[in-house]
Symmetry: C2
Subunit: 404 residues, 2 copies
């Protein structure tokens, strides 16, 4: 229907004929949303009770099979009711996150609560976060900070676990400084590299040793589904309770060899931090107009900018140390740079066919993972788009001419 | 409570005492979810009726103020009911996406439907997508493909809009090939660069000319909130109906000068595609173990890998052409490379203080945007984490020892 026809539509002559049915429909939507809030409040209360019950009985908080089964059932019911199955799954997953956070009350202990958990550097954000989980499971947690070394022998005398949680550049020195620990005490660390700290821990302690790399930041409210990488050091059997403890908290434990872990982290963590830092500093030196870039961005470029910009809201020391601690990084960056130079030459020489050939080789290497990652990230971009603030989206930046 | 205590808990002696209240609570959750599905089905039906009503009367589908107002009201009600305000907002935004897709039935036309819309290269994905929007608004849409040039003069004789939607490397040649258009016909293109196509269009056509860059892919179901960049060519007044048309479809129109647009696109689109391609080819040449990288990834590294991997599920030609068409790219990459070399030298020489200083300068440049981007991306990462498949998350990869 053309606008001209619309304008001659008798229904539009007096606005009331449109607004009245519209007002009625909107009242119905308001009513539906009230019910939505009420049913969500009830659901969250019920899951909190489930959490409390499970916790009292030492049942695992996060049971993947139950969750998958529940979602499959709800998808079917939604489809039957004419509601998109992905919609109900997305909503329930979002509600479950809320529930997991709310359930984080008391988790049983997998180890011996009569023995202390000593967090070395427990004043740091991640140390504090882990300390609170141990406390909630009934362990006595002691913090050993810079100024407490005089009392270290007393603090450590009855320790069942010593967890080194200091910044990466102090890890080795702190481990070397530890006094004698009880023979059966686990010595563990949470550094983001694993070979050097493990070697240092095995050197100073003859008992059980475990390397941990929690793949999350201190801002999480629940450990449900969070990945913890574990590298065996010594005496796996006596380390098992600690691994079980992370399982009870809901974490997913992945075991890996220290050298393979470190190599993988250099490939993703150190390389991505470094190249993001390069890109951010590049934008700064080019004096790019960030507001303009944001204003013209599609969700994907906005996300690209976010992945870079977010770095600069965080600790420079942390990133410098992660980058500097990656022994293999300079060699990897030489390789990266030579790939960059090779592709740049293609661009300069207008070798389109050769550039496409390079692309195709990488496509073969990514194989089935590429379309899977495309699907996954596209769905995430749709969520980013949902969340885009409508008022921000139409914020009339310089030059915008959209009619109101 | 320790596990030892749990095991001696009389409640656990017979499982029934745990499972029975658990079963009861779960039945309550099932019931709540049934109601949730029912209320969602009703809400979607109601918004579809609103969409149909608006469409009949030419009212805009997407009214940012109404959406913001609605969300603010629901947040208040949720808080009053003890439900987290962000939870209800996330859910409603997800539901609204569904509603916008469902509402995409008939949009009124802002232009003259008696004049044809001719999409040159309408066989391509984005051309087809836009053609379908014009059709749904009542325009007669004609497609001019490679083999149709013989009939071009006939096809174009009564055109009110000619939209060039061919791959970027053919854009200029196709524009040059166009026969004489009606004087008042808009000539527009959707190429991702704007200076050269605009110049070419102004050369061949004396009437209204407009450069468009839709910042979305052909997989969208609704134009609601999607950004379209518009570069003025000639006769803004006679181009206005086309801009209005995008507004009726729900898009957000942002006007920009062609050179500023192209520079911004080089800075984000071309640079990010290029460096992502470099990273992907680097991983391939290092023969990195992708399964291992995925298995050890936190949500943020998984997303970093996804942003790279997704590239290789898409058209090599498209990316090669975007990169090759960016005239300023080689010079930008020289700058990028010199930043990379400078930082790499810092790393090699262990100049931690200098690296931190470089970081801090970029932090000052990003200013308030950095924490905003951190918040935005962290929330998105939480959503990615919600969506992580629980069965995939515990998939026992090589070396995993988690006890069942």
């Amino acid at each position: 229907m053309c606008l001209a026809q619309c304008l001659s539509d008798p229904l539009l002559a007096g606005q009331s004929t449109v607004t009245s049915p519209l007002a009625e429909l909107r009242a119905g939507i308001d009513q539906a949303d009230d019910e939505l809030v009420a049913v969500l409040a009830r659901r969250i209360r019920l899951t909190a009770e489930v959490g409390a019950l499970k916790s009292r009985h030492g049942l695992p908080l996060y049971v993947p099979e139950r969750e998958a089964q529940l979602l499959a059932g709800r998808r079917e019911k939604a489809t039957a009711a004419g509601v998109d199955a992905d919609l109900i799954e997305d909503i329930l997953r979002r509600v479950m996150r809320e529930s997991y956070s709310a359930q984080g009350t008391d988790f049983p202990a997998a180890g011996d609560c009569s023995r202390a958990v000593v967090v070395v550097g427990g004043g740091g954000a991640l140390g504090r976060c882990l300390a609170s989980f141990f406390r909630r499971s009934g362990y006595t947690v002691r913090i050993l900070e810079k100024d407490d070394w005089g009392q270290a022998p007393t603090l450590l005398a009855d320790a069942g676990l010593v967890l080194v949680a200091v910044p990466i550049e102090h890890t080795l020195a702190v481990i070397a400084k530890l006094p004698q620990l009880p023979d059966d005490c686990i010595l563990a660390d949470i550094t983001s590299i694993k070979q050097a700290p493990l070697k240092a821990m095995l050197d100073v302690h003859g008992g059980p040793v475990l390397g941990l790399h929690p793949m999350f930041g201190p801002d999480i409210k629940s450990l449900a589904k969070q990945v913890v990488v574990v590298c065996a050091g010594r005496d796996a059997q006596r380390c098992q309770w600690l691994i079980d403890q992370f399982g009870i908290w809901g974490a997913v434990v992945r075991e890996e060899l220290p050298d393979r872990h470190d190599r993988a982290m250099e490939m993703i963590q150190a390389m991505r931090h470094f190249t993001s830092m390069v890109y951010g500093i590049f934008l700064q030196r080019e004096n790019a107009d960030l507001d303009e870039l944001m204003r013209l961005s599609s969700p994907i470029y906005r996300l690209e900018l976010a992945m870079v910009g977010r770095l600069f809201a965080q600790s420079p020391e942390l990133y410098a140390d992660i980058i500097m601690a990656a022994d293999g990084l300079p060699a990897l960056l030489d390789q990266y740079r030579s790939v960059l130079d090779g592709l740049l030459k293609r661009v300069r020489n207008h070798q389109r066919a050769e550039l496409i050939e390079d692309f195709n080789q990488a496509r073969d290497y990514f194989g089935e993972l590429a379309p899977a990652l495309l699907r996954e990230s596209s769905e995430l971009l749709r969520k980013a788009h949902d969340a885009s603030s409508p008022l921000r989206a139409v914020d009339p930046g310089p030059g915008t001419t959209r009619k109101a």
